[in-house]
Subunit: 135 residues, 2 copies
């Protein structure tokens, strides 16, 4: 059965931490599920770029492309820059991805946003820092 | 029993989304646990500032202050700016918080970083966007 493609989009940074975060998260997602072929691409300063990864997905056997921005919250990149690269009108959450030979649905997911899982992550980071203090 | 203080530090933004995210996450954390008094403060562009919230914590009954940056990854804010405000040397993960009258431990937690919970959150956002398409 054809998989879905997941393009994890990172902001990019001169420092190595954003790229590490996005690529490690892509790897963790790929380990968790067989549903997706996962690739990471960057808006700026790091490679592969979003455009390069879209090009790579055109050659994969996928039945759908889901673009997931690894950003904390909405902002100019989320609302304007990424939609422009994807050929989506501003505000659109879905469109079409033109593969080599066929078209598949393109879905544009939300950034992290407020979520109980994020609250849990903050509690976990707090607990780890306290545990380190007590060691 | 005295609680711990948790200062959730946000980047701040001209747009409303970062402030919303940080304040909603602070609320979600407070709903999840009685262990902490939770406050949100911002590095720039939004209020209350980090400094204002430190001042507010000086008047609370807390036995420890944990500072948790709601940032994706390490960077200049995490490595230099926040430690400077906290009076921590660069690289230090713990120090002392001077309350009105007594000193308590100060703990500086890590930003989000790569974590299986973050991978899960990305998968959840992808699934929600696909479900929306199919509605």
């Amino acid at each position: 059965m054809a998989k879905k493609g997941m393009l994890l989009v990172g902001h990019g940074s001169k420092l190595p931490y954003n790229k590490d975060l996005v690529e490690t998260t892509a790897r963790l997602i790929a380990e968790k599920t067989d549903e997706y072929i996962v690739r990471a691409g960057f808006m700026s300063l790091n490679t592969p770029t979003v455009q390069e990864q879209l090009e790579a997905f055109r050659k994969e056997k996928i039945e759908m492309l889901v673009v997931v921005p690894l950003f904390l919250a909405r902002g100019v990149h989320i609302e304007k820059d990424i939609p422009a690269i994807l050929g989506l009108p501003e505000g659109a959450r879905a469109g079409t991805f033109h593969m080599n030979g066929k078209d598949v649905p393109l879905v544009y997911a939300s950034p992290i946003g407020s979520d109980p899982l994020l609250a849990e992550l903050m509690l976990k980071n707090a607990a780890e820092a306290i545990a380190e203090l007590e060691r």
